[in-house]
C-alpha cells in the first residue's frame, strides 16, 4: 500500500537528531523524548517482572520445594506483582505511547506542562528505585495488594515499598493532570471533541481515573505506614478498627486501576483496527461513550474483590450487579471493533495480529470476569487460580497485547524504521499461543481448587501446572525474539518513510520520526481521523496547496 501523502520536500532534523548527547535527553522537555525514555525504563521493568514470573513457573513445575523455599516464593510473587502492576502496567501505555502520541494526535506542539512532564518521569524513576530497593532489601512478602492486617504485622520491612508506590502514584497524577489539560486546551483548530482520535479519548478517560483514584491509594498507603509505625488501629480489629475499610479504600483505587491498564489498550486497538481495516470506526460515538462509561462505572465495582471478606450481603449484591455493567460497555467496544473490520480491507500485519489476539483474549477475560462477579460462583473461585487466570487474561491477554500492538504500530513513527514483518507476525502468533497455553490450564486448576499464592500443590495438579509452565516458556521465548528483532531494527531496519501503514490517523501527518516540534507547520484537520473515504484531506499545511 503506497503512502497516501507525498514525501516531504525538505526534511528538517527529527526529534532524535535535533540535539545530541545523553545530557540533552536527560534534560529534555520534548514529550516525544520523555515518552521514549519512559518506554525504555518500562521495558526494563517488564523484563524484571517477567524473569520473576518465569521463576514462579519453574518452582511450580513440580510439587514440593524445588528451586526456592516457601518464603522465597512469597517474596518472588510479591516482586512479580509489584513490578508488573505498579511499575509496568499502570504507567505503561499512557506514559510511553500517550506521551509520545497525544500531542501529535491533537496537532499540538507539546503537552500543556512540559516541565511537569519531565518531573513526572523522574518521580517515576525515583519511585521505582525506592520500590525495588524496598522489595529486595526488605524481602517483602505481602503480595502487591499490601492487605492488612498482614502487611502491618509482617516482620518484613514494608515501609520503603509503600513510600515507593506512593511516589510512583504521584508521578501518574502529574501525567494525568498534564494529559487532561492538554486535551482541553491544546487541540489544534478543527479538532473538535467529536473529532479527537479514539486513542486520545482512551488516554483522557484513563487520566481522569488516575487523577481521581491515585490520591486515595496514596493516603491508604500512608495509613498502612502509620499502622506500622504507630499502631494506629484504623485497620486493626483488636483496637476496634475495621480491616475491611482498608480493602474498601484500596480497591477504590485498585479496581479502577484495572481500567487504567486496559482502557489505553482499548484506545490502541481502536486506532489499529481502523488503520488496518481501512475504514472509519463503525461507530465513533459508541467507542467514545463506552470509554467514558467504563471510566465512570469502573469506580462503582470495587466491592467484588471483597465477596468473601465479610462485607454485607447487600453490599455484595450491589457490587455484583454494578460489576456486570462494565461488561456491557466492553461488549459495546468489541462489537464496534468487529463492525469496523466487517467488509473492511484487512491488512494482516503484526499489529493487526496482536489486535486479533487482544479481542479474542479480552472476550474470554471479560466473560470470566462476569462469571466471578456472580457472588455465588465467586465463593468457589475466590482466591484460586481461576481468578489468577481471569485477571491475567485482562492484564496480559488484553493490556500486554495492546502494548505490543502499539509497539509495532508506532515503531516506525518513533524511530523511522521498519521491523521484519514476517518475523513479527510469526512471533505474534507464538506469543498468543504461548499465552493461551499458560493461562487456560490455570482456569482449570482454579476450578479444581488450586489456591493462588501457594508454592506447593497435590500431585494430581501436576499435568496442568506443567502445561502452564511450558506455555510460560513459550511466552518468554516470544518476548525474547521481539526484543531481538526490534533492537536490530532500531539500527538496521529499512527506512519507513512518513506513513508506512498508509494510515489516516492524525499522528501520521507529520514526519516519521517527527520533527522537534511535531509539525513543520500548523496542521489542518477538516475531516475526522481515519476517514479513508477522503484520503489526504487532513494535512500539514504545505501539502494542501
Amino acid at each position: 500500500m503506497a503512502p497516501s501523502h507525498a514525501e516531504p520536500t525538505v526534511a528538517g532534523p527529527s526529534y532524535l537528531d535535533a540535539e545530541r548527547g545523553l545530557w540533552s535527553w536527560l534534560t529534555t522537555r520534548d514529550h516525544k523524548r520523555i515518552g521514549v525514555m519512559f518506554l525504555a525504563v518500562l521495558l526494563l521493568m517488564f523484563l524484571l517482572g517477567g524473569i520473576f514470573a518465569l521463576a514462579l513457573r519453574v518452582e511450580l513445575l513440580t510439587p514440593g520445594e524445588t528451586v526456592m523455599g516457601r518464603l522465597a516464593y512469597n517474596r518472588a510473587f510479591t516482586v512479580h506483582g509489584v513490578v508488573m502492576v505498579w511499575l509496568f502496567l499502570i504507567p505503561s501505555i499512557p506514559t510511553a505511547f500517550g506521551n509520545f502520541l497525544l500531542p501529535l494526535m491533537i496537532g499540538a506542539r507539546d503537552v500543556a506542562f512540559p516541565r511537569l512532564n519531565l518531573a513526572s518521569f523522574y518521580l517515576y524513576v525515583l519511585g521505582a528505585v525506592m520500590t525495588l530497593w524496598g522489595v529486595f532489601q526488605g524481602g517483602v512478602d505481602t503480595g502487591w495488594t499490601f492487605y492488612t492486617p498482614y502487611s502491618t504485622v509482617t516482620g518484613r520491612d514494608v515501609m520503603p515499598v509503600l513510600l515507593g508506590v506512593f511516589v510512583v502514584g504521584f508521578s501518574t497524577i502529574l501525567t494525568g493532570i498534564n494529559f487532561i489539560t492538554t486535551v482541553h486546551t491544546l487541540r489544534a483548530p478543527g479538532v473538535t471533541w467529536m473529532k479527537v482520535p479514539l486513542f486520545v479519548w482512551a488516554i483522557y478517560g484513563t487520566s481522569i481515573i488516575q487523577v481521581l483514584a491515585t490520591p486515595v491509594l496514596g493516603m491508604v498507603l500512608m495509613l498502612v505506614a502509620l499502622e506500622r509505625v504507630a499502631g494506629a488501629g484504623l485497620f486493626d480489629s483488636s483496637r476496634g478498627g475495621d480491616p475491611l475499610l482498608f480493602q474498601h479504600l484500596f480497591w477504590f483505587y485498585s479496581h479502577p486501576a484495572v481500567y487504567i491498564m486496559v482502557l489505553p489498550g482499548m484506545g490502541v486497538i481502536s486506532e489499529a483496527v481502523c488503520a488496518f481495516s481501512r475504514k472509519r470506526p463503525f461507530s465513533y460515538r459508541v467507542i467514545v461513550w463506552s470509554t467514558v462509561g467504563i471510566s465512570f462505572v469502573g469506580f462503582l465495582t470495587w466491592g467484588h474483590h471483597m465477596f468473601v471478606s465479610g462485607q454485607s450481603t447487600f453490599g455484595a449484591g450491589a457490587f455484583s450487579l454494578l460489576s456486570m455493567l462494565v461488561a456491557i460497555f466492553t461488549a459495546m467496544k468489541i462489537f464496534t471493533w468487529l463492525g469496523t473490520m466487517y467488509r473492511g480491507s484487512l491488512w494482516v500485519s503484526t499489529p493487526f495480529t496482536y489486535v486479533l489476539g487482544f479481542i479474542f483474549l479480552l472476550f474470554f477475560g471479560g466473560m470470566s470476569g462476569v462469571a466471578v462477579a456472580v457472588t455465588s460462583a465467586d465463593l468457589h473461585w475466590h482466591d484460586t487460580y481461576f481468578v489468577v487466570a481471569h485477571f491475567h487474561f485482562i492484564m496480559v491477554g488484553a493490556s500486554l497485547m495492546a502494548f505490543l500492538a502499539a509497539l509495532h504500530y508506532w515503531f516506525p513513527k518513533m524511530c523511522g524504521r521498519m521491523y521484519p514483518e514476517g518475523m513479527g507476525i510469526g512471533t505474534a502468533v507464538l506469543i498468543i499461543f504461548g499465552f493461551i497455553a499458560t493461562f487456560l490450564p490455570q482456569f482449570l486448576l482454579g476450578n479444581l481448587g488450586m489456591p493462588r499464592r501457594y508454592a506447593d500443590y497435590p500431585e494430581a495438579f501436576q499435568p496442568l501446572h506443567v502445561a502452564s509452565t511450558a506455555g510460560a516458556s513459550l511466552l518468554g521465548f516470544g518476548f525474547l525474539i521481539v526484543a531481538i528483532y526490534l533492537g536490530w531494527s532500531l539500527r538496521h531496519g529499512r527506512a519507513a518513510g512518513r506513513n508506512p501503514w498508509g494510515s489516516e490517523g492524525y499522528e501520521w501527518l507529520s514526519d516519521s520520526p517527527p520533527p522537534e516540534f511535531n509539525f513543520h507547520a500548523p496542521p489542518r484537520f477538516p475531516r475526522p481521523p481515519h476517514d479513508y473515504a477522503n484520503p489526504g484531506a487532513n494535512t500539514e499545511v504545505e501539502h494542501a496547496a
Binding site: 520536500t9 525538505v10 528538517g12 506542539r109 507539546d110 500543556a112 506542562f113 497524577i173 494525568g176 493532570i177 498534564n178 487532561i180 489539560t181 482541553h184 486546551t185 491544546l186 483548530p189 487523577v211 481521581l212 483514584a213 491515585t214 490520591p215 486515595v216 496514596g218 493516603m219 491508604v220 495509613l223 502509620l226 499502622e227 504507630a230 499502631g231 494506629a232 488501629g233 484504623l234 483496637r239 476496634g240 478498627g241 475495621d242 475499610l245 474498601h248 479504600l249 520533527p515 522537534e516 516540534f517 509539525f519 513543520h520 507547520a521 500548523p522 499545511v541 504545505e542 494542501a544 496547496a545
Partner: protein, 216 residues
C-alpha cells in the same frame, strides 16, 4: 492564526499556546485538577471518619466534650479571615496595586502561622491528657472502645491538614516576596491566583474538619 499555504521553511517555534488567555486557561484547569486530587486525598480520611462514626456513634458524639472547642473555633475564624485577605490580595494585584497585594499576602501569612501556633497549643494539651494517636492512646477520662480511633483520626486529619497549611504558608511567602520584587502586576498574576486557590482549598478542608471534630 491562519497559515494558509505558507512556504517552507515555516517557523516551527510557533507559540505553544496561542495567547496569554489560553495559557491562563490551561494553568487554571491544571490547578483545579490538582485541587481535585487533594479533595480525593482528604476524602479517604472523611470516609474513615464516616465509617467509625457509624460504628461508634456514642463515642463520636461525646468526643467534642474532650476537645478545646474555643481554640478550634478561633482557628476557623483565623483561617477564614486569612482566606478573605488572600482574595483581596488577588483583587488588588488585578487592579495593579502590587504593594497592597504583597501586604495582604504577608498578613495572611501571619494568620497562617497563628493557626499553626494555636494548633500546636491544642496538640500540647492533648499530649498532656495522653490523648495520643494509635497505640500510645492513654486518655483515662475517655476510655471507651472507639475513642482511640476518634483521636487517631483527629491527629491524622488535622496533622495532614497542618502539613497543607505549612506548605500554603510557604507558597504565600514566596508569592509575597515575588510580588514585592515586581514580578507580578495587572498583566501577569497567574501564580498569585493559583497559590491563592491552594490556600482557599486548605481553608475549605478545615471548614469540614471543624464541625465534624469539634461541634457535632
Amino acid at each position: 492564526m491562519r497559515h494558509e499555504a505558507s512556504p517552507r521553511p515555516v517557523e516551527p517555534r510557533a507559540l505553544h499556546f496561542g495567547d496569554e488567555a489560553s495559557r491562563q486557561d490551561a494553568a487554571h484547569l491544571g490547578m483545579w485538577i490538582f485541587l481535585a486530587t487533594e479533595v480525593l486525598l482528604f476524602s479517604v480520611l472523611f470516609t474513615a471518619y464516616a465509617l467509625y462514626r457509624l460504628t461508634y456513634p456514642g463515642v463520636f458524639q461525646q468526643a467534642p466534650a474532650h476537645m478545646d472547642v474555643f481554640l478550634g473555633t478561633l482557628n476557623t475564624f483565623v483561617l477564614v479571615v486569612s482566606s478573605i485577605l488572600v482574595a483581596l490580595a488577588v483583587d488588588a494585584i488585578r487592579n495593579g496595586r502590587d504593594f497592597a497585594a504583597a501586604a495582604l499576602l504577608a498578613l495572611s501569612v501571619l494568620l497562617g502561622i497563628a493557626f499553626l501556633f494555636i494548633k500546636a497549643a491544642e496538640y500540647t494539651k492533648h499530649v498532656h491528657d495522653g490523648a495520643l494517636p494509635g497505640a500510645w492512646y492513654a486518655y483515662e477520662a475517655f476510655a471507651l472502645p472507639g475513642a482511640n480511633l476518634y483521636f487517631t483520626l483527629y491527629w491524622v486529619m488535622t496533622g495532614v491538614h497542618a502539613v497543607h497549611v505549612l506548605v500554603g504558608v510557604g507558597v504565600l511567602v514566596t508569592l509575597a516576596l515575588r510580588t514585592l520584587a515586581g514580578e507580578f502586576g495587572a498583566r501577569f498574576h497567574t501564580p498569585v491566583e493559583l497559590g491563592g486557590m491552594y490556600w482557599h482549598l486548605v481553608d475549605v478542608v478545615w471548614l469540614f474538619l471543624w464541625p465534624l471534630l469539634y461541634l457535632t
